[in-house]
């Protein structure tokens, strides 16, 4: 049989594309070499949230006295935390499988390899069988970046150095944990193991943590974690891994920090090797990402790509949307991908959530903006629930159009309400119009409304 669509990779981009395509009546086959759900569901976003929730409960127990509650003998059982995490992942993976089945997607659990273009479209082989389809979608995701630093390969093989995958399966909390890379993954894992009792040291090459997050907010986050005992080494470059320590250059000096485990989370690279894309001539960037246009099309007709593999945003929710854009275009519906209102969340405690421009990016782009920067303490619920909280909310407004172009918040629940800011940015409502919207009271999200009245 000839498929309407063959999808390689069953992560967020791949499985969502398959669901949407199947729902629309396209005969769809999905190849997944490991587990559907991809990194996000199996060894990324979701399992880390399970761990962080356990940590949050533990944090509450430890700090409850501030709220008049004292727990005696609270403890964190790492084995049970990991066991529960596995249960969460299993539930969600089977949920994805169920959705695929419901949408009549044929799931092939094996490695799909692009053989060639054929008269009928494309041939993909898997475990000796050749599948033919008129369209191809590449959603092979990304893998952790492992730079050629001395000793890293050996340290990884010995189990001393870990990626996001191994760090989520540790059954023993390491006494000393070094995290190389202070981005989202590094910070979330540092946050968990800090709560779980590890002595955590973060080594970051840049002069700031949390990547593209607003610097003022990332600084507050850093201070919060410094208070909790995490040591930060910024502008520090790792030069060597031994089997029990990490050596890095800081302010011109070599520093060696001993560790029981080290997490390497310096970034991810698109996974485009050994999947046969050279057989059909799909163009890649220098970094090995598949080049796509705003409709998810590659340089080869009827070949689409979505998710981390295009190297653009590398977030699961971006992948979802990119996948939908691809499917809509396949179905002949007008749709294009926009990256200007993609929310980003760091699930630390406190959470950081942002969408759109930060002051830094707005300046870079030469946008004339005004920024309302207010304390989270304007929100009654924040005060009630965050003893000693020092969070802030920044709302950026484009002066020319009087529209919201960016919102950044540090404070819990921000992960859940940041989408509201995405709405404002995507729909380009004017500030005056947004002022007419009623927010529930008392909630943390009211802070955005408060900030808007600064304009």
């Amino acid at each position: 049989m000839k498929y309407d669509l063959m999808i390689i990779g069953g992560g967020p981009a791949g499985y969502l594309a398959a669901e949407r395509a199947g729902h629309a009546g396209l005969t769809t086959v999905l190849f997944e070499k490991k587990n559907v759900g991809g990194v996000c569901l199996n060894e990324g976003c979701v399992p880390s949230k399970a761990l962080l929730y356990s940590a949050k409960i533990y944090d509450y127990a430890k700090t409850g006295s501030k709220y008049g509650i004292t727990f005696e003998g609270a403890s964190l059982n790492q084995e049970k935390v990991i066991k529960r995490k596995k249960k969460v992942v299993k539930t969600l993976v089977s949920g994805v499988k169920g959705a695929l089945k419901h949408n009549k997607v044929e799931l092939i659990e094996g490695e799909g390899f692009i053989e060639k273009r054929s008269a009928d479209g494309f041939n993909v082989s898997c475990a000796g069988t050749v599948y033919t389809g008129s369209r191809l979608m590449i959603c092979t995701g990304s893998v952790p970046l492992m730079p050629p630093i001395e000793g890293l390969k050996e340290a990884y093989e010995a189990g001393f150095a870990m990626t996001n995958k191994e760090v989520l399966d540790l059954t023993v909390v390491p006494e000393k944990l070094v995290v190389v890379g202070g981005g989202v993954i590094g910070l979330e894992m540092a946050s968990y193991y800090n709560s779980a009792g590890s002595e955590v040291t973060i080594v970051e090459m840049l002069d700031r943590i949390a990547g593209m997050t607003d610097t003022e907010i990332s600084t507050i986050l850093m201070k919060n974690y410094e208070k909790k005992g995490i040591k930060f080494n910024l502008q520090s470059k790792v030069v060597k891994f031994t089997q029990s320590s990490v050596i890095y250059e800081k302010e011109g000096e070599k520093v060696e920090t001993p560790a029981d485990k080290v997490l390497v989370s310096i970034g991810r690279r698109p996974f485009t090797q050994n999947i046969g894309i050279e057989n059909i001539g799909v163009s890649l960037t220098e970094r090995g990402a598949i080049i796509t246009d705003d409709k998810g099309r590659t340089n080869i007709a009827e070949v689409y790509a979505a998710g981390d593999v295009n190297g653009k945003s590398m977030l699961a929710h971006t992948a979802y949307r990119e996948a939908e854009v691809c499917i809509n275009n396949i179905l002949g519906k007008k749709d294009r991908m926009r990256y200007n209102a993609i929310p980003a969340v760091i699930y630390t405690n406190p959470e950081v959530a942002s969408v759109g421009e930060t002051e830094e990016t707005a300046k870079q782009k030469g946008i004339e903006y005004e920024c309302a920067n207010i304390s989270m303490r304007y929100a009654g619920r924040y005060v009630a629930e965050n003893e000693g909280g020092d969070g802030i909310c920044k709302v950026l407004v484009d002066k020319k159009y009087n529209k919201v172009i960016g919102v950044s918040v540090i404070g819990n629940y921000s992960s859940e309400f940041i989408y509201g800011a995405s709405f404002m940015i995507e729909t380009e409502m004017t500030v005056d119009d947004i002022k007419e919207i009623v927010f529930p009271h008392p909630t943390v999200c009211e802070v955005i409304r408060e900030a808007l009245f600064a304009f």
Binding site: K334, Y401, N402, E428
Partner: protein
């Protein structure tokens, strides 16, 4: 005293008419004899002239509305007269709501009069002609009315055009609206194709990939008559077993006869009798002996007529019309000629009584003048047959052992094989050919 103008009843079978065009707008001065509006029945178009003078105070229906006959269409009277009592049931929404708006709030009316000033801020010709309701709705929805297809009277953009635009877009975000230049083609990259501030910064785009002076196609909304023809033709072929048989005859006799009429006709006060008229005449006479073809066929009955109501297909600018020559078998050749011309003229001008466009028992359609040699005419149900008249070609025949040429005219007869069989149809066609070849004899009979 204000006078209500009603949708006239055109023929006993017409229950409603569609307004094709308003020639007068609300507020216009009207004198007796002014054309108020044009309306169409299934097949004909009429102009309604005003029988009173005054000001057109209110219009209750819009163009394209299907209005039941005898319903109040508009009111003419003195300015300021109360016209609320005239508002008919089922007046089309915008007009009706407009009337309510006026009753509820006089200021709304003033706003409507403000139109030219408001339009000045949007410098396109189209947007200048927009109803206040439509304008309001477009603004609320973030739509550029310049994109709307005006379907109101005199190219005015009315509310339903904006409603349509809401679905087809493009719409503009609130922020983008501040810098938006009406009528410019922007690439909408926002949610649902909305035009965003960024799109405006990029400026207008040339979306047309073909040169601007070349338009690949033009869409035209189907006029009512086309819809009616489409329905009738499809129904005809879908509901019958149609079979066409072809025969030709020596047209020497009728051509000779026509020559005579041409030479002496005017002197004798005869109309310009055409070959087509002669075929109609001969067919009407011949059909009386073949009543199976002069019949209506329904599910369980064949109604054979003892008189021939001859449908004569007429090509008009609006499309095909088939007026009926009632009792054509009892007409003289000159009556047939005169009446056919009269009906054709009425059909072409659109003033024909709709009742005359039905009731035929048989139809003749003539493509001979265009040089058609044979074709398959489509029966007008519930009739059982239709005769197609083809052009004249030169053929050869043997006369006394030598070859002679003669003018040959083709006839294509389509029958409904459900009602008539091939052999009786062929017998009719044969008789008809014989009669036409001996036209003078038939005239005497």
């Amino acid at each position: 005293m204000a006078t209500a103008i009603i949708m006239p009843r055109q023929g006993n079978t017409v229950e409603s008419c569609i307004i094709s065009k308003w020639h007068k707008q609300k507020g216009d001065a009207v004198v007796v004899g002014d054309i108020l509006f044009t309306y169409e029945t299934d097949k004909a178009t009429f102009d309604e002239e005003s029988s009173v003078a005054g000001t057109l105070l209110e219009i209750f229906f819009e163009e394209d509305d299907d209005v039941p006959v005898l319903t109040t269409m508009c009111v003419i009277g003195e300015e300021g007269e109360n016209i609320s009592e005239f508002s008919p049931e089922g007046a089309s929404a915008p007009a009706k709501e407009q009337a309510q708006e006026e009753k509820a709030d006089e200021s709304v009316e003033e706003k409507a009069d403000d139109k030219p000033e408001a339009a000045a801020t949007t410098p396109t010709g189209d947007v200048a002609k927009i109803s206040p309701r439509a304008k309001n709705r477009a603004e609320k929805a973030g739509l550029d009315a310049a994109y709307a297809t005006a379907t109101g009277p005199n190219g005015r953009i009315i509310e339903r055009d904006i409603a349509k635009l809401e679905k087809s877009g493009p719409s503009i975000t609130k922020a983008a609206a501040t810098s938006y230049v009406s009528g410019t083609a922007y690439a909408g990259s926002g949610i649902g194709g909305r035009i965003t501030a960024e799109d405006i910064e990029k400026g207008g785009i040339e979306e047309a990939l073909v040169p601007a002076d070349f338009v690949e196609f033009e869409d035209e909304k189907l006029p009512n008559i086309r819809k009616v023809i489409a329905r009738a033709m499809h129904h005809s072929l879908a509901s019958m077993a149609q079979l066409t048989i072809n025969m030709s005859f020596d047209a020497s006799a009728i051509m000779e006869f026509r020559k005579g009429v041409k030479a002496k006709g005017e002197e004798l006060g005869l109309p310009n009798i055409t070959l087509g008229d002669m075929v109609v005449y001969a067919t009407a006479k011949t059909l009386l002996k073949h009543k199976g073809l002069n019949a209506h066929f329904t599910d369980d009955t064949i109604r054979r007529y003892n008189t021939v109501h001859m449908g004569v297909a007429v090509d008009t600018e609006r499309g095909l019309m088939v007026p009926t020559l009632f009792n054509s078998d009892r007409m003289t050749l000159s009556q047939i000629s005169t009446n056919t011309k009269e009906l054709a003229a009425q059909s072409k001008s659109g003033t024909i009584n709709p009742d005359i466009l039905q009731g035929g028992t048989f139809t003749i359609t003539n493509l001979g003048a265009m040089g058609v040699e044979t074709f398959t005419p489509v029966i007008n149900p519930p009739q059982t047959a239709i005769l197609g008249v083809c052009g004249i070609t030169t053929k050869v025949k043997e006369v006394n052992g030598s070859i002679a040429t003669f003018p040959s005219m083709g006839l294509s007869l389509t029958i409904n094989h459900m009602a008539v069989d091939g052999a009786p149809a062929a017998r009719f066609l044969k008789d008809l050919c014989t009669n036409l070849e001996n036209f003078a004899v038939m005239l005497l009979a």
